[in-house]
């Protein structure tokens, strides 16, 4: 019997994104989350007495250049060397473009698979054969798995591969392959990397993405960790998921439909946060609170947007005792109005809605509207102009969404409630 750890996509020192700072936010607790997660991985390996660790690519963020990150990684690997635990890594798309990966002097227990052809490493004392090939360039379009050698007889065969398999939303389609390409090799276990969400593609043989060890933004919600694999002498394989994340991303959706007052909305937010906290397992939570629904409270929420956001943050700070960071508050409520019916009514509201509808559906009007933002866009940092974090102010779809929101900004302000009815 022996154990090993399968992990991937460590993206060491990749910053947590989208966390606005505010008074009471647990800034100190959140610092260096990916490093803490890596330390947890090393600790788990030592505690469990694993025979080796497999890292299926993406140790570092591609565009991150601070060599300190590499040195930290090397120092953690040295700890494993003291316990005679070898580490088998391969380079993923990020590593292929990382200067750190290229220049880092790894401790002697760390082995990087070749990037020019599939390489097989034999661990004769426990009869394990590891097959792997790293990315030589970031945009690896080839099916690397196709060239992996067949399984070695008498060995427990592990395939290590950085791949998008047959494609996953939000991930580039690198080293594409079909499940059949993998099963045809006759291996016992395929340790895959690249997809950040844990996913078991097949149970026999085992083919799985271990997911990353620390979520870095709200699109990476839920528990994160590595796979602790136990292989019995007869080859029986058991997989246990070990959670390593120190900050866990959570979406808290609050349905405020039919709620009349801001205080009642706060009551619902509180109970939603309570539920989230109950499942935190002592971890720090980064929560996105999203309040939705048609409600009378929309009017007050809209009128004092900032105030309610701050109140929700303060509430979370009180309840979480320093273990909650409200990543963002989305107040996406709307008025309980039949906009369609109103749009067909004979009133300034009807006129306004009809006019807005006209702009919304006219490409010319939209492109005219987009010009308003040209100065702002030119000033924005490059991170907000391109890439997955970009804010879109020009595309028709984004503009249409803004216009839809504008209705919900305008209507409650125009309704001035004459009389105390």
């Amino acid at each position: 019997m022996f154990k090993f750890i399968h992990t991937a996509d460590i993206h060491l020192d990749s910053p947590l994104r989208g966390l606005s700072r505010y008074e009471g936010a647990p800034i100190d607790s959140i610092r260096g989350a990916t490093r803490e997660a890596l330390k947890g991985l090393v600790r788990t390996a030592m505690d469990e007495g694993v025979a080796f660790i497999v890292i299926a690519g993406d140790l570092f963020d591609g565009d991150w250049k601070d060599y300190n990150t590499g040195l930290f990684f090397a120092s953690q690997m040295s700890k494993l060397r003291e316990r005679d635990i070898p580490v088998f890594c391969l380079t993923g798309n990020h590593d292929a473009s990382s200067v750190i990966t290229k220049t880092l002097k790894m401790p002697s227990n760390v082995h990087l698979f070749s990037t020019s052809r599939p390489e097989t490493i034999l661990l004769r004392d426990i009869a394990v054969a590891l097959h792997g090939q790293g990315f030589s360039r970031p945009d690896m379009g080839e099916n690397l798995a196709a060239h992996y050698p067949p399984a070695r007889d008498g060995f427990y065969n592990i395939g290590v591969l950085h791949t998008a398999a047959n494609g996953r939303e939000g991930h580039e389609l690198y080293a594409p392959c079909k499940i059949q390409d993998l099963t045809s090799k006759g291996y016992d276990y395929w340790a895959l990397g690249h997809i950040h969400k844990r996913e078991i593609l097949l149970g026999s043989p085992w083919i799985l993405f271990s997911g990353n060890i620390q979520g870095r933004h709200i699109r990476e919600t839920g528990p994160k960790g590595c796979s602790l694999v136990t292989v019995e002498d007869d080859g029986t394989t058991n997989i246990q998921e070990v959670f390593l994340d120190v900050v866990r991303w959570v979406r808290a959706n609050v349905d405020a439909t039919g709620v009349d007052t801001g205080e009642e909305v706060m009551d619902q937010v509180r109970s939603t946060l309570e539920r989230a906290l109950a499942k935190a397992e002592g971890r720090l939570l980064a929560i996105r609170v999203c309040v939705t629904g048609a409600c009378g409270a929309h009017e007050v929420l809209n009128a004092e947007h900032e105030r309610w956001v701050n109140q929700i943050r303060a509430e979370a700070t009180d309840m979480g005792g320093g273990d909650v960071w409200i990543e963002k508050v989305l107040l996406q409520t709307y008025l309980p109005l039949d906009l369609e019916k109103l749009a067909s009514s004979e009133s300034p509201v009807g006129d306004l809605l009809r006019y807005i509808h006209k702009i919304e559906t006219d490409p010319k009007e939209l492109s005219e509207l987009a010009k308003v933002f040209s100065t702002l866009i030119s000033r924005l940092p490059i991170e907000l102009r391109y890439g997955e974090e970009a804010v879109d102010l020009e595309k028709p779809k984004a503009l249409q969404e803004m216009i839809r929101d504008a209705k919900q900004v305008l209507l409650p302000r125009m309704i001035a409630r004459s009389l105390n009815l």
Partner: protein, 1167 residues
């Protein structure tokens, strides 16, 4: 949509209240409620019905939440109707007639998709919003677009809204400036990114330092090796330099050793051992001599001591004898005293015997000893006599006393009266007493009866309207109180209707009077031409013209046939001219005095209206009066059977209450009288019963007229007296019985006492016989004889005891002297001649001496043994020393040990040299670097000793240079290690990157918010402009008309104009064509302008859309009466197109509406 009915079934303070708006088809319901009546509650109920009752409502202060109900019936412009009831709750709050839920969508059709707030914004207006609207108009400078849009929406301030959005956008981003949030965040982000780059470590830098460290480490190794080589050479030269003088010394010593030749080598400690052995030999010799002398002394003393063995053997016997001699001595001293005591006792016994009498002698006294039992019996009998005698005397005394008491008691009993039984009398008395104080009760009731009769008389007097008797009063059947209440409210309703009608009539009459006064005033200012006058004049003129024409065209016609022209007028032409002038004059006057003409026309129309109203009001008044008469008749009829002609219902209700009170009191009076009579009968019965019992007891009966209390007291006294006599007699009989019993007991006791005395006398005689006394002897005599006999036998017993003790002492003395003689003859015959006491003491002394000698002898023997042993030890030591010295001589090869010192000295010298050689060799081995001494000697032989220092100096310089180099390398290594240690995988850059992500998140939020706010502001501005363009024409025109009407033509209309920035603005136009900007209007006027714009917008909307009820809440409170009237008229006109529900607190508004709104349009409701 219009409201047909509005039901406040259970809401706020309302309960089952229905406002019916269906009466006037397109009317203007006017809901009047003074303060506190619940106008605001009704308003809330209205929106509550349409849009649901809010979850947090304050209108549940009477009806609980679950009971709140608002109902309404509404009608759509397409004719469909809906009746629904609203309850409070989360869902299914809309119910149908039978209380089953109906979908909310059923209402949706009528509400056009609005919610509560939108509805109240667009279709409800109060005074505050009017004022705010007016102020916003002024503040916005009358901006046409904003004013129209605001009025159209029902919002007061549209400008503020646009500005708020734009200012929020401005606080987020500006193309120039640093302070807006986005600008600031971009700056922060850039600077953080820069700091992050500075804190980042490039891999090149790390590699270059790492390589430098590698190089220095390797170089240091090479230098180290070189230094090692140099220092070993330097060391070799130093070693040889040191070795050369030592080698010279070694060689010299080796030569000296050779010269000494053969030497006997003794061990190094030989000399010391030899000296020690000699010392031991001498010491042993002297010790042996001293010990032998001591031994001789001891042996001498031993021969002198010979202890006596026989004494020691008899040691115990001698000690016992010596002890016995002490007691023997004491006995010899006591013996004579004891013999004297015996003689004295015998003499005392003789004396007692003499006293006892001749029968007693010393010799036979023993045979007359009395037994203890006999003595005890005599003493006991003696003590018994006195109690027996006492008992007999007491019994005799008691028997006599009792006999005398019995005689006295028997005599008392014979004097007691005969017996009677009072029980029946007492039982009757008890029964009566149990009923309480009957006479007191009778008195109280009679008192009450008297008081109550007075009360009844007073009530009868105060009843009023009644002529009949009291008894007859109970027979009548007056009407119920409820009936009277009903009549009272009917009367009140009738009265108030009459008063209202009367007041209305007065008002109308006053108004007519006012109108007539105005008309007279107009007339007084000069006659007013009428249109009919003009028509008449024109007709007259035209007739003239026809005549002129005729005369012109037909000159032949008869002029006399002309019209009857004024006689004063000479010619047709003149006449015609006059008529033309007259007509023109009238026309001119009509034109010039058009205002007065119109006023007169209006006054006349008003007068007609008022007159009509007066007629109709008078008719109504008559009808009401008739109704009143009918009611009064019914009222009188109600009281006919009572026989009273009734006053007002309120008075009659009071009479009825008095009547009921009186009837009640009468019934009470009857009850009192019945009670009084019953009591009197009872008392009489009791008296006769008691008299019967008194007679039976033989007592005098009592007269019936006696008071019941004293009667009862007397009966009680009789009963008690009889009872006392009976108790006394019973006690006496009981006493006599007790005395008889005691007397028989006393007689018995006396007999027993006599018997006891006899039996004692018999026993006593037998007992004292033994004492030789007569039976008549007294117990005291017997006691004296007994005591004396006792003393006699005591003396005799003591004397015999003394005799036996003297004999024993004599025996002991003899035994002792025999024992002493025996011992002395065995151990010391010389003592036989001495007294036993002296012999015993000397024997003891001799034993002590013998014991002391034995102990000394043993001690000396022990010393002798140890001395013999010491001599033996010294002899052995001597032998050993001599043997050892002989052995040493053999080792050194000499005959005697005196020769040994010389041999020893030679051996030591030889050894000393050898040791020096060895030390040198040892040193030189150190210098040889492991090669051996001979190799070293050989190496030095080849060296030039003089050149050595110079060579060494050259080497030192070389080594110093190499060490300098090594230290430089050390420093380099240290520096590089420090730099690399600083590159420790720290996370500063990563933390800064994380921080910059936080700013990026803020920035993103701000940008998104900015985009939404900007788009909102932009869209709103554009729509306001578009709305203006589309609606400016028709709305401004209509608003101008309404504005003119409300301001009573102070303004003629509204026109668009431009301000100095070319923005379109609103301008009011005076009838004089003077233009007034909104800033130039008074507060009231600007409010009215806003109202005009709103009403015009509403009308515009009605052209195409579904009409909605317009809810107005006291909007007129700041309008003067004239403008209020004008506004009400405008509203009335609008109410033809859409329902207007007008809520007000003010009666004045109600009155104005009555006067100015068509009767059929106005429906009044009171809360």
């Amino acid at each position: 949509m219009r409201l047909l009915t509005f039901e406040l079934s259970a809401y706020g303070s309302f309960k089952d209240r229905t406002l019916d708006f269906s009466a006037s088809k397109a009317g203007m319901p006017l809901v009047y409620g003074p303060n506190e009546a619940g106008k605001s509650v009704a308003l809330r109920a209205l929106t509550g019905f349409f849009f649901g009752i809010p979850s947090r409502t304050g209108d549940n202060f009477i009806h609980p939440n679950a009971r709140l109900r608002i109902g309404a019936k509404i009608i759509h412009s397409d004719g469909s109707e809906l009746y629904a009831i609203r309850r409070k709750g989360q869902k299914d709050t809309l119910l149908n007639h039978s209380g089953d839920p109906i979908p909310e969508a059923a209402l949706g059709k009528y509400l056009e998709g609005m919610n509560r707030d939108l509805f109240s914004t667009m279709y409800a207006m109060d005074h505050e919003i009017l004022v705010a609207g007016g102020k916003a108009l002024v503040a916005g400078g009358g901006d046409v677009g904003q004013s129209l849009f605001a009025a159209g929406m029902g919002v007061a301030d549209m400008r503020g809204l646009v500005e708020a959005l734009e200012s929020e956008a401005g606080s987020l981003f500006k193309p120039t400036g640093k302070n807006p949030k986005i600008n600031r965040l971009i700056q922060d982000f850039k600077s953080l990114k820069h700091r992050c780059a500075n804190k980042s470590l490039s891999s090149k830098e790390w590699i270059s330092h790492n390589e430098s460290l590698d190089f220095a480490t390797k170089e240091k190794e090479i230098v180290g090796r070189e230094l090692l080589k140099l220092s070993s050479e330097r060391h070799r030269l130093e070693r040889l330099h040191q070795a050369i003088p030592r080698i010279a010394r070694l060689l010299a010593l080796r030569a000296e050793m050779k010269e000494m030749g053969e030497v006997r080598r003794l061990p190094p400690e030989f000399s010391k051992q030899r000296r020690e052995t000699e010392n031991i030999l001498h010491r042993s010799q002297s010790t042996e001599a001293r010990v032998r002398k001591d031994l001789e002394n001891i042996q001498r003393e031993l021969s002198r001591i010979s202890p006596e063995g026989s004494l020691i053997k008899a040691q115990e016997e001698i000690r016992a004898l010596f002890l016995r001699s002490g007691s023997h001595k004491k006995a010899m001293m006591d013996l004579p005293k004891r013999m004297a005591d015996k003689e004295r006792l015998l003499e005392e016994a003789q004396a007692i015997l003499k006293k006892l009498g001749p029968a007693w002698e010393l010799q036979n006294a023993d045979s007359r000893r009395l037994t203890d039992a006999l003595v005890a019996r005599i003493r006991k009998l003696g003590r018994e006599l006195d109690p027996i005698l006492e008992r007999r005397a007491a019994a005799k005394r008691l028997s006599l006393e009792l006999e005398s008491e019995i005689l006295t008691a028997k005599e008392d009993l014979s004097h007691m009266p005969s017996e009677k039984d009072p029980e029946r009398l007492k039982a009757a008395l008890n029964r009566i007493l149990k009923q309480g104080d009957l006479s007191e009760r009778l008195n109280t009731i009679n008192g009450h009866l008297r008081e109550h009769q007075e009360n009844l008389d007073a009530l009868r007097k105060g009843l009023g309207f009644w002529e009949g008797s009291l008894d007859a009063l109970e027979g009548v059947n007056p009407p119920q109180e409820e009936t009277i209440d009903q009549f009272e409210s009917d009367f009140a309703a009738g009265h108030s209707k009459l008063e209202r009608a009367d007041q209305a009539l007065c008002e109308q009459r006053e108004r007519l009077f006012g109108l007539e006064r105005q008309m007279e005033a107009l007339k007084a200012a000069g006659s007013i031409p009428k249109v009919s006058d003009l028509e008449q004049a024109r007709k007259h003129r035209d007739e003239g013209w026809r005549l002129v024409m005729k005369s012109w065209l037909e000159p032949t016609s008869d002029k006399t046939n002309g019209p009857s022209f004024d006689a004063e007028v000479k010619t047709l032409a003149e006449e015609y001219e006059k008529r033309v002038r007259t007509a023109d004059e009238i026309a001119d006057r009509l034109r010039n005095e058009s205002e007065r003409v119109a006023k007169q026309a209006s006054l006349m129309a008003d007068r007609q209206e008022v007159e009509k109203r007066i007629v109709s009001l008078s008719e109504a008044l008559e009808g009401l009066q008739e109704e009143h008469l009918v009611l009064e008749r019914a009222w009188n009829k109600l009281w006919e059977n009572v026989g009273i002609s009734p006053r007002k219902p309120r008075e009659m209700r009071a009479w009825l209450q008095r009547y009921h009170k009186l009837v009640e009191e009468m019934s009470y009076q009857r009850t009192l009288m019945e009670n009084s009579e019953g009591l009197e009968t009872l008392i009489k019965e009791h008296k006769s019963v008691l008299n019967k019992h008194l007679k039976a007891l033989g007592e005098t009966p009592v007269g019936n007229d006696e008071n019941l209390d004293s009667f009862l007291n007397r009966c009680e006294a009789v009963g008690n007296r009889i009872e006392d006599a009976r108790k006394k007699r019973e006690n006496l009989i009981q006493h006599l019985r007790d005395l008889d019993r005691k007397s028989s007991i006393a007689t018995h006791n006396l007999e027993q006492a006599e018997e006891a005395l006899k039996s004692w006398q018999k026993m006593w005689g037998q007992a004292v016989e033994h004492l030789a006394l007569e039976s008549s002897a007294l117990p005291a005599e017997a006691d004296a004889v007994l005591d004396r006999i006792q003393a006699l036998f005591d003396r005799m017993d003591q004397a015999s005891m003394m005799q036996s003790r003297v004999q024993a002492m004599e025996r002991d003395a003899e035994e002792f002297s025999n024992w002493v003689g025996d011992l002395c003859s065995r151990l010391a015959p010389d003592l036989n001649k001495k007294s036993p006491e002296t012999a015993a003491r000397e024997l003891n002394e001799r034993l002590d001496k013998a014991l002391a000698d034995t102990a000394r002898f043993q001690e000396l023997e022990k010393q002798q043994r140890s001395l013999v042993k010491a001599i033996q030890v010294e002899e052995i030591a001597l032998e050993e020393s001599q043997a050892k010295l002989a052995e040493m001589c053999r080792e050194a090869g000499v005959g005697s040990y005196e020769e040994l010192p010389e041999i020893e000295e030679r051996s030591d010298l030889f050894r000393e040299k050898q040791e020096k050689i060895e030390a040198l060799e040892q040193e030189l081995v150190g210098y040889s670097a492991g090669a051996g001494i001979e190799a070293l000697i050989q190496e030095t032989e080849e060296m030039n000793a003089d050149a050595l220092p110079a060579e060494m100096e050259a080497l030192d310089r070389h080594i110093q240079a190499m060490e300098g180099k090594r230290s430089e390398l050390d420093q380099l290594i240290g520096r590089e290690r420090a730099v690399l240690a600083g590159m420790d995988g720290r996370s500063e850059a990563a933390e800064l990157a994380e921080k910059s992500q936080g700013i990026l998140a803020d920035l993103r939020d701000a940008v998104e918010r900015y985009a939404r706010v900007t788009v909102s502001a932009l869209l709103l501005r554009k729509e306001i402009e578009r709305y203006r363009e589309a609606n400016q024409g028709p709305i401004l025109k209509r608003a101008g008309e309404i504005f003119a009407a409300i301001t009573l033509n102070s303004f003629k209309g509204l026109v668009p104009d431009f301000d100095h920035k070319d923005n379109p603005i609103l301008i009011g136009v005076r009838p004089t064509k003077e233009k007034v900007s909104v800033e130039g209007m008074s507060d009231g006027t600007s409010d009215q302008l806003y109202l005009a714009l709103r009403l015009a917008s509403l009308e515009q909307r009605l052209l195409d859309g579904e009409p909605m009820p317009l809810i107005l809440d006291d909007i007129l409170i700041n309008f003067d009466d004239d403008r209020s009237c004008a506004t009400l008229k405008v509203l009335e006109a609008l109410s033809k197109k859409t329902q207007i529900i007008f809520f007000t607190h003010h009666r004045r508004i109600l009155e104005l509406a009555r006067a100015n709104v068509r009767q059929e349009a106005l429906v009044e409701h009171y809360l």
